[in-house]
Every structure is written in C-alpha cells, then in structure tokens.
C-alpha cells in the first residue's frame, strides 16, 4: 500500500507545492538582498542581483535611530502580555475541563468561544475610552491589558483541548494520594500541557509583536512606539530610501525568525494539532 502510494506521485500537489515556495520566497529574498544595497545600486541594478558592493549602512542608519528603544518597547509589551495571558488562560482552561458539568463554567466557556467568533478589534473605540478613563493612555500598560484579554479566547480553547486529553485515572490516583486541585494542576496538568503552552505563547506572542492597531490608537509619544508602528513612521520619513526601509523590515522580523528557527518543530506540530481537532 505505501509503495503504491509513493508510486502514484501526487504530482499536482507537488507542482503547487514548489510553485508556492517560489511565491513565498521571491519577495523575502528581494527584501534581504535590497537591504544590503546602497541607493544607486537599488535604482540601477537588477532587483534580484546580489549587491555588487554590499553595504551595512542601511542597518547602521536604522540602529542609530531610536530603533533600540522601540525594540525594547516591543519586548516589554510582548513578554508583559504573554506570561500573564498564558498563565490565566491555563488556569481557566483547567477549571473549565475539571469542572465540566458546572453551568457557570459552561457559560464562561461559551463566552470565550463567542470571543473567537467576534472581531474584537471592532471594539477598539470603547477600549480607547476605557484606557483614557483608567489614565493609562500613552503607556505600555495600555497595550498590554487589552492584548491579554484579546488572546484569552484562543488560548483557552487550545489549552482546554490538551487538558481534556489527560487521562482521568491520573487525576483519580493523585486525588487518592491526597493532592489538592491546585496541586494536580501544577504537578499533573502543567507538565503534560507544556507543548500546548509553548504553542499558545508563540502564537499570541507573534500577534502582539506584530500588532499595529493598539499602538496606533492607544499611544501617542514617539518613545512609546512598538516596532510595527515605528516601521510605519520610519517608512514615512525615509520613503525615498527604500533599502533603509527594507533594512528596518529585516531588523524587526529577525528576532521572530530566530525564535521560529529554535522552536519551529514545536510550533508547527502544536498548530496542526491545536486547530484541527
């Protein structure tokens, strides 16, 4: 059977697969190559040619701007969102699965599921009002709190799916040994759910790192900008200097690419498992 399957090569899927690879990689290649060209090479050289005189000037220009500040802001907002978001989502998912049968918890779960179906970005105007009233406007905390809330529905869903798979007998035997619910959550559910926790953290982290709408609306001062917003303003300032703009694109994406390179196996398997059940 396996041999037969291999012989019947899925050539159409294969063709689409390699064609798609080209579509994905061509723009990415162009970004990187161009970011190492100076302006005159950008205007005169073939766009796909390697730079004849590679230069790091563009990167220098970007780093000497306030880039480190924006970078730090992005790190603070992302870490400040994910750690609490994943912790409270895990606790909520655990309670929902362990308390199956409780009408209250079923209702809470329903509320979170509804959050999945509703484009929460559409609630940005009241969120803006709320942040002003809380006197948090133009602070990094203004970005963190709504980001946590927005990442709860999906996190709870994925984590609950994983906790559901923990065999009931394990809980029973721990209970017999006198473990509390809190102890079972920490010593049993937490280690067994680790892959899902990593997946959810990376997925939400990606969303926050790349977030644009919240920083655009909830902050104002240049020193509160996160990377995507900084990228946009940088583009406005240096619109004639495309290679420099592309260097800033590379620099804002690089940390994520490195993180992805380290954790991709986990992320990809977690995503395919998390969404398809």
């Amino acid at each position: 059977m396996r041999v037969r399957k291999l012989l019947q090569l899925n050539w159409f899927g294969g063709l689409a697969g390699w064609a798609w690879l080209a579509i994905v990689l061509i723009p990415l290649y162009w970004i990187v190559v161009t970011s190492f060209k100076d302006q005159s090479a950008y205007f005169t050289q073939n766009p796909f040619a390697l730079p004849s005189a590679p230069t790091a000037n563009n990167y220098q220009l970007v780093i000497q701007s306030d880039f480190p500040r924006y970078f730090l802001n992005s790190v603070i907002v992302t870490a400040g969102t994910i750690i609490p978001a994943v912790a409270i989502s895990f606790m909520a998912a655990y309670a929902i699965i362990r308390g199956a049968g409780s009408r209250f918890l079923a209702g809470v779960n329903g509320l979170f599921l509804m959050g999945l179906a509703i484009p929460l970005q559409a609630t940005i105007i009241p969120v803006y009002l709320l942040i002003i009233k809380m006197r948090l406007y133009d602070s990094l905390l203004a970005l963190i709190l709504p980001s946590i809330a927005f990442s709860i529905p999906l996190s709870v869903l994925v984590l609950a799916n994983f906790i559901r798979d923990v065999p009931k007998e394990l809980f029973e035997s721990m209970r017999v040994d006198g473990a509390t619910e809190w102890g079972m959550m920490r010593k049993l559910a937490l280690p067994l759910t680790r892959p899902a926790l990593v997946t959810v953290s990376i997925y939400n982290g990606l969303g926050v790192w790349n977030g644009f709408l919240l920083p655009l609306i909830l902050t104002q001062s240049p020193d509160k900008r996160t990377l995507p917003l900084a990228l946009w303003t940088f583009q406005g300032q240096y619109s004639v200097n495309v290679p420099a703009v592309l260097a800033s694109v590379v620099l804002t994406t690089l940390p994520i690419v490195i993180l992805y390179a380290v954790s991709r196996r986990q992320l990809l398997s977690g995503l395919t498992a998390g969404f398809s059940r």
């Binding site: 899925n10 159409f12 899927g13 294969g14 689409a16 697969g17 798609w20 690879l21 579509i23 994905v24 723009p27 990415l28 161009t34 950008y42 073939n46 766009p47 796909f48 409270i88 606790m91 909520a92 309670a95 918890l105 809470v108 599921l113 179906a117 509703i118 484009p119 970005q121 559409a122 609630t123 940005i124 105007i125 009241p126 803006y128 009002l129 709320l130 946590i148 809330a149 709860i152 869903l157 990606l206 790192w209 644009f212 609306i217 995507p228 990228l231 703009v245 592309l246 694109v249 804002t252 994406t253 994520i256 992805y260 992320l267 990809l268 995503l271 395919t272 498992a273 398809s276 059940r277």
Partner: protein, 280 residues
C-alpha cells in the same frame, strides 16, 4: 481559577462590546464630553452613500480571498500531510510570511510594486510596471494577493493536521475499489475535512473583517475609497474625523457581521456541540 481570565475578558472584551452599542447612540469627539444623540448616528450612517461602498468592498475582499485561499490551502495541506522529509521542510519555509507584521508586508509590497522603481521597472517587465496601487480594481487584487500570500501557509497547516487525522483505512478501501488519487481527494479527503473547512473558513471570514493594518499601510483605503473596508471606515470616521458616534455604528455593524457569519458557518457545519468541538 477561572476568575482572572474572566475578569480581564469581561473588562476589555465584553464591556467594550456593549460599549460599542452604547457609544453608537452618543456624540463624542474622542476628547471632550459624551452626549446622548439618540438614533441620529444610525440614521446618518445608514443613509450615507459611503456605507454601501464600504460593505461592498469588505465583502469583495472577503469572498475573493476566501475563494483563492481555500482551494490552495486544501491542496497544499493535503500535499504537506505526506510524511516525506522534504514536505516537512517546505512547511517550515511556508510559515515565514506569517512571521512578518502586516505593516512590514504592506511596506515591502508597496516598494515591490512601485511602477517606477519596483520589480517591474528593474526587470523591465511591462506587465509588472502597472500602477498597481493607483487603480481601483488592481489595488483590490493586490490586497487579495497579499492576504493570500500571508495566510495560505497558516490555513494549509490547519488542513495538514486535518488530513493526518483521516483514517488510512478509508484510502485503502477506496484504492481496492479502484479509485484514483483525484477521486480519493474529492470523495474522501474533502468530505472528511468538513469541520476543518468550517474552522478554517470561519477564521478566514471573521479575520477578513479585521484587515486593517495591511490596507491602512498599503493604500490607506485608496485609490479614492477603493479599498476602504469597514474597519478602515471605522478608523477614518472615529480617529481621523473625530466622530466616535458614527464610527461606533460601523464598529457595531462589524461585530454583528462577524457574529452572523460565524453562526452561518456553524449552521452549515451541522450545529451539535460535539461537531463544534471537533470543528474548533
């Protein structure tokens, strides 16, 4: 244990959801006091000619990008579900566009498609040197292409997971009956992926209501109002024209639209709790 999550979600999710509706009946410039305004915002928004246009553009982008992404993701997902090593390698590379922010992607494509200095001019390919973002229909096409570029990888991963869960016995039985690969794809793979298709489509359709960053940075809604989707309409009315009331009307419409579409898709999937669980 559920309380911290519930509290934050209620404060920043549920309260604003109700708040949108409340604010849609008020007048507020974003800074000063808020005044009750009765039905006036709804009347003025529902009768102004911008609204049907924004709705039309939103649906155009939603439907066309769904129609491009779904078959392509299904095909790639099925292909990636094979266990060969090089397919796993392809899946790794496919994921990269998802790592870039929409702002970064929009900035990149803007430069890439520049009629004077972009790819077309550099390669001297006439077709590519069109003013892609300066003509209404082309600009919408570019948005759909970029959205597909960004999200097909994600949806093909979802399909990949779905295909892997189809029992191989189904395929064995089918090939004993003499069904070829194409037949197997349409008679087994696609029907077995019903819930995965619903999940993926829901994410696509509801997600498309929130395409803001990409379009804002790429075209800012232009040329003219050609790519002014509802989310952008909301932003422009609220945060550029300082009319939070009318903007809240648009926001309420986006929420209602998202909810209606999600329910419709769930209905299509057969609405038992078990199937929702599987589908989600």
């Amino acid at each position: 244990m559920v309380l911290p999550a519930l509290l934050l979600f209620v404060v920043f999710g549920v309260v604003p959801l109700v708040g949108v509706l409340v604010l849609s009946f008020t007048q507020w410039d974003g800074l000063g006091a808020i005044h009750a305004a009765g039905l006036s915002n709804w009347k003025s928004v529902l009768t102004d000619s911008q609204l049907p246009h924004s709705i039309l553009v939103t649906f155009e982008i939603m439907i066309l990008s769904w129609a491009v992404q779904t078959p392509m993701s299904l095909l790639l997902g099925t292909f990636l579900a094979g266990r060969q090593r090089y397919r796993a390698f392809l899946a790794v590379l496919y994921f990269i566009p998802l790592l870039l922010s929409s702002a970064a992607i929009a900035i990149t494509y803007k430069a890439l498609l520049d009629p004077n200095f972009g790819l077309g001019a550099g390669l001297k390919i006439g077709f590519l040197t069109q003013d892609w973002l300066g003509q209404s229909n082309l600009a919408i096409g570019v948005v759909i292409f970029i959205v597909s570029w960004q999200f097909i990888p994600f949806h093909s991963l979802i399909y990949q997971g779905g295909v892997r869960q189809i029992p191989t016995t189904l395929y064995e039985a089918a090939s004993i009956d003499g069904a070829g690969r194409v037949r197997q794809f349409f008679s087994i793979t696609v029907p077995q992926l019903k819930y995965t298709i619903i999940t993926s489509s829901t994410l696509m359709v509801v997600g498309s209501l929130t395409f803001f960053d990409l379009i804002f940075v790429l075209t800012a809604g232009g040329p003219g109002d050609a790519t002014r989707v509802l989310a952008l309409d909301m932003y422009k009315r609220g945060f550029m024209s300082n009319q939070m009331g009318p903007a809240s009307v648009i926001a309420a419409l986006i929420v209602l639209l998202g909810l209606a579409l999600a329910l419709l898709l769930r209905r299509l999937g057969g609405s038992t709790t078990a199937s929702q669980q599987e589908g989600a």
